[in-house]
């Protein structure tokens, strides 16, 4: 049949490239073909950019208050010179907060806090979860049982509630809030790693490595864990989104970051009663959180579509 000869040119190019490309380059290309991943990445770059260059972009010190400056009232809305705000007043493009500080500068510095929160929480959760899952899967027996049952106990609680209880015991602070969220997110990673370890523990290439006298650690890191890298990347990216949301929620309740730190959840929480009189103080940090979380979610979804071989085979679902 003629259909055999009708392979489009770009498919031929694909097959050709396949031989010369490394796994990582191939993966990267697949990621860039996902629209959601690209959109997420672009938004994320903007957030990272504002965090890195906050001192350059921010018009004021995020802690500086303008109490007593002429024409400046607490919780004033935006004052932009181009839009007719009198030149005699200092310019505040997103308004000022209850302590007469510039909201725009605080949002920019808040990006630093938020990115640090997301990355730290997930690093701790991934490290802890991977270690526990790897030990459980590799050791098996009683140790496996003890570790996995304790993970089940964590999952028996509604996790935000467990995080609240943990921070309550540890004492409210950003560090403790991050630790609490890291602990309650651990079981997911532990389960993924454990099941990977179990599925390849007896594989021939692992056996071969063992026969060559490789140490358990070498086998674990060089032979077993690479199998789990793509689900781990996807889980961790989506995990950052959840970590940012939940840490902000703890801060909102007063259990996380403490004022005057420019953390978005705290900024929103301390002004939440002003929703009727100064809505910008709620909307601006709220939108900042939403956009950042959205970026991580889009990137995570895109990565999942690109990295999960099951989804690749059945086309783009999910």
């Amino acid at each position: 049949m003629a259909t055999v000869a009708q392979i489009p040119d770009d498919n031929i190019a694909d097959i050709h490239d396949y031989k010369s490309n490394s796994l990582w380059r191939l993966t990267l290309r697949r990621v860039f073909r996902q629209r959601s991943a690209v959109v997420g990445l672009v938004i994320l770059l903007v957030v990272v950019f504002s965090a890195l260059f906050a001192p350059v972009i921010a018009p004021y010190d995020p802690y500086k208050d303008f109490i007593g400056v002429e024409g400046v009232k607490r919780r004033d809305g935006p004052c932009i010179h181009l839009l007719g705000c009198p030149e005699s007043q200092p310019q505040f493009i997103l308004g000022i907060d209850g302590n007469a500080r510039d909201v725009f500068s605080r949002i920019l510095y808040g990006a630093r806090v938020t990115l640090r929160i997301g990355v730290t929480v997930i690093s701790v959760a991934v490290l802890g979860g991977t270690t526990l899952g790897a030990i459980a899967g590799y050791a098996g027996g009683t140790i496996d049982n003890i570790i996995m049952r304790s993970m089940d106990v964590i999952l028996a609680f509604p996790f935000f509630l467990l995080a609240i209880a943990l921070v309550f015991v540890l004492g409210p602070s950003l560090m403790n809030a991050m630790l609490a969220i890291a602990i309650v997110s651990m079981p997911g990673y532990a389960r993924v790693i454990r099941s990977t370890v179990l599925s390849v523990r007896e594989a021939d290439y692992v056996e071969a490595s063992r026969a060559l006298g490789a140490s358990s650690l070498h086998i674990l890191f060089k032979r077993i864990l690479p199998n789990a890298i793509s689900p781990l990347i996807v889980l961790a990216t989506l995990g950052i989104a959840t970590a940012v949301l939940d840490t902000a929620a703890l801060s909102f309740l007063g259990l996380g970051a403490q004022p005057p730190l420019p953390e978005w959840g705290t900024m929103l929480g301390s002004e939440r009663n002003q929703i009727f009189s100064a809505p910008h103080l709620v909307f601006v940090p709220g939108i900042a959180i939403s956009i950042t979380v959205l970026a991580f979610n889009l990137l995570g979804d895109g990565l999942r579509d690109a990295l999960d071989p099951r989804l690749v085979n059945e086309g783009k679902s999910g």
Binding site: S36, R149, D152, V153, A156, F157, P158, F159, F160, L161, L162, I164, A165, L166, F168, V169, G171, A241, L245, A248, A249, F252, L253, G254, L255, G265, L268, G269, R272, I275, F276, P279, V282, F283, G286, I289, S290, I291, V293, L294, N297, L298, D301, E314, K316, S317, G318
Partner: protein, 374 residues
């Protein structure tokens, strides 16, 4: 023929009962573990429990008596035994912030949270499932892309921010229009729900277990006003529930829509669906009668898991909308550093979660014969 049929039915019935019993018994170690964790956390709080409960000014002598009374001088396993015994007798301790036993607070405040969680889950299911089905049928169409984009946005907006936005739009921007909705409280000022047992003229002695039970039922305002036909209270309570329930429902709604879509897509690719189509059945019949039943199984699991998000989110939602449920109590107990209060409330909410998950698992057995027959 009939005999074999009956035998199968009895066997299936017995397996089902066995499954229900086994699954219910499995909940016991989980609850035990929850108590152990909460007990451990309470003991891990730095400082003297006497001073943290009675205040910094408590004298040596008072603390001595306090320790004696609460068995704090006993070894830890004995203390845990005493604690379990108390919990089994319904004694979850007293809240300092509210000056009442936790169990009484449960009667007053848990119904609010149950109604909120129920309303939020209803929203999530009645919007999420159809959205997922439509997305799957019209895969890659504009409607699919729009739904999935909305779902991604839905899981990205913090509950507390969404709640405040809703308050702003429905109580500030739409004020004095017919679309305005109340931003706080359970009922409008001046309205109160008369308990059904009073309406029906039952004589109830106060502070008896029967009274507490009836009061617990009556505090479900929607249910209470429904059975007493008090429509003014009923519709007022609903109006107060719309915004918080919607704020709480978006994340589960988005996740349910996604799972429904991907599960539906998977089922639609199966042979029996192709066979049904080949028979010449209408698409509607194929989807509703053949595909949906199988596609909904993973959705049921997700509904169970999302209850965790709803119960956790209730703390935020009730705080924002000033709804007097257990979530708001948790917030108030946090702000007044009410240790026994937090402890009791966390246990209650965790138990409710275990119970609801048990119900979800049992309903799974009814839906999927493979579960109960294995």
């Amino acid at each position: 023929m009939t005999v074999t049929y009956q035998v199968t039915i009895t066997l299936e019935y017995r397996l089902m009962v066995q499954y229900i019993i086994r699954r219910t018994l499995l909940a016991i170690p989980v609850m035990f573990a929850i108590l152990l964790v909460v007990f451990g956390l309470a003991r891990a709080i730095p400082g003297d429990p006497c001073k943290s409960i009675l205040g910094e000014k408590a004298s040596e002598q008072i603390c001595e008596r306090f320790a004696e009374e609460h068995g704090l001088n006993e070894p830890l396993p004995v203390q845990f035994g005493i604690y379990i015994n108390k919990v089994l007798h319904g004694d979850l301790g007293d809240s300092i912030r509210f000056g009442r036993p936790i169990i009484v607070m449960l009667v007053e405040r848990l119904p609010m949270t149950i109604e909120l969680a129920f309303a939020a889950m209803t929203f999530a299911v009645i919007v999420g499932i159809p959205a997922g089905i439509i997305s799957a049928i019209r895969r890659n169409s504009a409607i699919d892309v729009a739904t999935m984009t909305l779902a991604t946005i839905g899981v990205s907006i913090p509950v507390f921010f969404l709640g405040l936005m809703l308050i702003y739009f429905f109580a500030v921007a739409l004020k004095d229009t017919p679309f305005a909705l109340p931003p706080s409280g359970r009922l409008s000022p001046g309205l109160s729900a008369t308990p059904f047992y009073e309406v029906w003229g039952w004589s109830v002695e106060e502070d008896t277990p029967r009274f507490l039970f009836l009061e617990f039922i009556a505090n479900h305002f929607l249910f209470n006003s429904l059975i007493t036909a008090d429509w003014e209270v009923f519709f007022d309570a609903i109006r107060h529930l719309i915004l918080p329930a919607f704020a709480l429902s978006t994340i589960p709604m988005a996740i349910i829509a996604r799972i429904t879509r991907s599960s539906m897509l998977e089922v639609l690719g199966l042979d029996y669906i192709r066979a049904a189509k080949a028979k010449g059945l209408r698409q509607r019949t194929v989807i509703m009668k053949h595909a949906l039943r199988n596609a909904l199984l993973p959705v049921v699991t997700v509904v169970g898991l999302q209850l965790a998000a709803i119960l956790g989110g209730a703390v935020l939602t009730e705080t924002i909308f000033s709804l007097p449920g257990v979530g708001l109590s948790v917030f108030e107990a946090i702000t007044s550093r009410d240790f026994p209060g937090i402890q009791g409330l966390v246990i209650i909410i965790a138990f409710v979660y275990v119970f609801l998950n048990l119900m979800v698992d049992l309903s799974y057995a009814f839906l999927d014969p493979r579960i109960r027959l294995n």
